[in-house]
């Protein structure tokens, strides 16, 4: 099989799995997850083969694996769809395939496969546990198990489509499929009002970004007549785009298109100011949070910007905006994360913050650094989310054991000391957390973050560099806070004492992802690290070759290395120091209302957008326009028609039609009927006789008449 054919086939298994599960397998839980995991495995296999072939192909950046077909005829040309794997696509495909497969496997355990049906579980709510024959409370299987696998399969299809597509149109299709799946999966437990609201919020918020993105795509198509990367990234096309001015903000066409597309990313990757949906999206099941809201879908936003980098980078204004948004988001989300108590919310804000890092890196032109951080982040953030899911699962076990359902299994202040109860989870979580913090030398996060710092420093973006350094310090701090609160110290509740390790289907993905969280960074060790002369950076060479001009690597700097060591180790140490002995929420000094309430962004949006919109809808549209104006006109017509009608009725209808014509015909009919009544004797033979006589008479008459003529 040629590589191109294989690339076409990669997205297929998940969509087939989706239809198979929805149409046929939805009765059998085992069959459903077998199909879904099997499909994910097939896609993984295809992706791995493609990846291996990609790294073995020299000059892949110039001649990527590509194949396309004509799809829609437009006036004199064709709208083409196709697949393309260049070095960037290959590495994205690599981590997407791995995380998707891991998360699929993890979901089997997370949804308690093999456990009995719940005592009073209903579809639409998380399972409440079941009692076995000994009266013990054990976790119960998810009632909508098959549906979950169908949805994540569809999601995987969307993600793979997005990665392998060679044009913005199919990318957008995958993008929107993922948006739909995100909506469906956040609202998976639809009987929870909070989940429903979160689903709607996520969908609506990303929709804002998507509308702008669609505008950008449309603009791009009208400007260039093509949506395929190959055509757009031709130097002459880019040059033309860069030189065409637009009336908006004095941006060039390229800048405006880039900005519009970037707004799509803001929505998808939860950047300020459209970040509000991501924390709420934690209402979904944890594998969903891991996959959609950490590893893949939100990465897709960043991926798109990286993908469109040649276009976006044409306009310095756009780049400035991107750098600003990314940097601001990074620090802003990090400060919120510090004050969150929910284990998943911390990770959610951390995700926003880390995505901000990537965006900021792109804003300063650090193409490879952004891609590198995208890959490493996907691994360690998926690991962290899955680890948190494992922790929650363990805590739920404790909750089931004690039967005290008041205890929130997601609140970190209810945990503590879990390292002994859940060793595998602890160690993998620790690795993930250290990777997130950028623990020096060992972890992947260090290398990718370091590269971002180097680039920001090297290109002279001082403000970006300092802000990101602070954000990185906060990152290390809240990560250590989380680890300390969750795993170290002594159990703060009985539930935490009774938590225990989860099944292998959940821990095995953790271990695999943990190994990636460590190893994935080693491909990006800078060439002149510590002034040594190492091998050329493989990742830089490989991904950088995607661009027509290989970006130069910023030179090594001791200042940067020192900064990154200080912020990482310092943040970790401070976090441990502060939270070492914290026993309850009250002792936490960082429960600042401003941070705890996320800078009141939901309230601000409510006041600025939702309330006015509601008011406008109610007062202006409904009360004034609808009721007063339109209804008034209609009522006027109605009244006028009624008046005319009553006049007509009184003088024409009643008088002429009823009295004369109506009653008159009735009377005549009655009279005729009365006199004709005897004919209807009810005797069939008499009827026949009469009709026969009439027939004979008419026949005779006709014959007579015809004979005369």
């Amino acid at each position: 099989m040629t590589t191109e054919t294989l690339i076409w086939l990669i997205p297929l298994p998940p969509i087939l799995a989706f239809f198979l599960i929805v149409l046929f397998a939805n009765r059998s839980k085992a069959l459903s997850h077998t199909i879904a995991v099997g499909a994910a495995f097939l896609s993984w296999l295809g992706a791995m083969i493609v990846f291996v072939r990609a790294i073995g192909t020299p000059e892949l950046g110039r001649t990527p694996f590509a194949s396309f077909i004509n799809w829609i005829p437009t006036a004199d040309t064709w709208l083409k769809v196709g697949v393309q794997i260049d070095p960037l696509g290959a590495v994205v495909l690599f981590f997407v395939a791995w995380t998707v497969l891991m998360i699929f496997i993890y979901s089997v355990g997370y949804h308690n496969f093999g456990q009995p049906k719940g005592d009073h579980d209903i579809a639409g709510l998380p399972p409440h546990g079941a009692s076995d024959e000994h009266g013990h409370h054990v976790p119960s299987v998810e009632p909508m198990y098959s549906r979950f696998f169908a949805f994540i399969s569809l999601f995987a299809f969307g993600m793979f489509t997005l990665v392998v597509s060679d044009n913005l149109l199919t990318l957008f299709a995958g993008w929107e499929i993922m948006g739909l799946c995100s909506y469906l999966l956040i609202g998976f437990w639809y009987a929870k009002p909070s989940a429903r609201d979160a689903a709607v919020k996520a969908f609506m918020t990303t929709r804002v970004g998507d509308v702008f993105m669609l505008l950008g795509i449309a603009f791009l198509y009208s400007a260039t007549g093509s949506l395929s990367y190959r055509d757009i990234f031709q130097p002459q096309v880019l040059g033309a785009l860069a030189s065409v001015p637009t009336p908006i903000f004095g941006l060039s066409a390229a800048g405006l298109i880039g900005l519009l597309l970037f707004i799509g990313t803001i929505g998808k990757s939860a950047q300020f100011p459209l970040h509000v949906w991501l924390p709420d999206a934690m209402e979904g099941p944890t594998p969903v949070s891991a996959m959609i809201h950490a590893a893949t879908m939100v990465s897709a936003g960043v991926y798109m910007v990286i993908r469109m980098f040649p276009l976006i980078s044409l306009d310095p204004h756009t780049m400035t905006i991107i750098a600003f948004i990314g940097t601001f988001t990074a620090i802003f989300a990090a400060t919120i994360a510090v004050a969150q108590n929910d284990i998943k919310k911390v990770l959610a804000y951390s995700t926003i913050s880390q995505l901000g890092f990537m965006i900021a890196a792109l804003g300063v032109g650090a193409y490879v650094a952004a891609a590198f951080h995208l890959v490493t982040h996907a691994f360690f953030k998926a690991l962290l989310f899955l680890g948190s899911g494992s922790v929650i699962h363990g805590m739920e076990h404790g909750v089931l054991h004690t039967g005290n359902h008041e205890v929130d299994p997601q609140n970190m202040f209810n945990m503590g000391g879990l390292r002994k109860k859940m060793p595998i989870t602890f160690w993998t979580f620790l690795i993930g957390g250290f990777a997130l913090s950028g623990f020096p030398l060992l972890t992947a996060g260090f290398w990718s973050k370091d590269e971002i710092f180097t680039e920001a420093f090297g290109t002279g973006h001082w403000i970006v560099f300092i802000t990101l350094a602070v954000a990185a310090f906060l990152t290390a701090f809240y990560t250590m806070r989380q680890i300390t609160l969750t795993f170290l110290g002594e159990p703060r509740t009985k539930e935490a004492e009774h938590a225990h390790e989860t099944k292998w289907t959940m821990t095995a993905p953790l271990v695999i992802l943990a190994s990636f969280a460590v190893c994935a960074g080693w491909v990006g060790i800078p060439q002149d690290f510590l002034g040594l002369h190492l091998n050329p950076t493989w990742f830089h060479e490989f991904v950088g070759s995607t661009l027509s001009v290989m970006p130069g690597a910023a030179p090594f700097s001791w200042i940067v290395l020192g900064t990154s060591l200080v912020v990482a180790l310092g943040g970790l140490f401070v976090g441990w120091l502060v939270y070492r002995n914290v026993a309850s929420v009250e002792q936490d000094k960082l429960q600042i209302p401003l941070l705890k309430n996320k800078y009141y962004f939901d309230e601000i949006y409510s006041a600025v957008f939702i309330k006015p919109a509601t008011w406008f809808a109610d007062a202006i549209v409904y009360q004034t326009m609808d009721k007063l104006l339109i209804d008034g006109v209609l009522h006027f017509f109605g009244k006028a028609a009624q008046a005319i009608g009553s006049v007509v009725r009184k003088y024409i209808d009643l008088l002429i039609i009823n009295r004369t014509i109506g009653d008159g015909t009735a009377r005549v009919t009655q009279w005729v009927g009365k006199n004709l009544r005897p004919i209807q004797s009810g005797r069939i033979q008499q009827y026949m006789l009469v009709s026969l006589i009439v027939l004979l008479a008419i026949a005779g008459l006709l014959y007579y008449l015809l004979a005369i003529v």
Binding site: P678, Q680, I684, Q685, L689, L692
Partner: protein
């Protein structure tokens, strides 16, 4: 050879006898008997026209068969009606079944 007119006259006579039966018999079943006679008269005409016309045109025979089908349906439904009426009204005299009058 028998001329066509013989068949036609026979069928006209049979038809008229059937008509008389339909008009005159009191019993509903007997009325249906008359109808059968009339249908048979029609069929004789059909078949003889087939025979005395172009025998390769099967329309005459085909419609004779369709008349068979119609006759069978008519008898089945008609007799079912008669029996049903007998159950309810205890009579099959057509003149007494004059419920549908003014």
């Amino acid at each position: 050879m028998i001329p066509l007119s013989w068949f036609l006259i026979l069928s006209a006579a049979l038809f008229s006898i059937g008509l008389f039966g339909v008009l005159s018999r009191k019993n509903a079943v007997a009325i249906l008997l008359g109808i059968e006679l009339m249908l048979n008269a029609v069929n004789i005409n059909m078949v003889s026209f087939w025979r005395y016309g172009d025998v390769s045109q099967m329309a005459g025979q085909v419609f004779a068969i369709i008349v068979f089908a119609v006759a069978a349906s008519e008898v089945a439904v008609g007799l079912a009606l008669v029996i049903s009426v007998y159950r309810r009204r205890n009579t099959v005299i057509a003149e007494e079944l004059d419920l549908m009058k003014w």
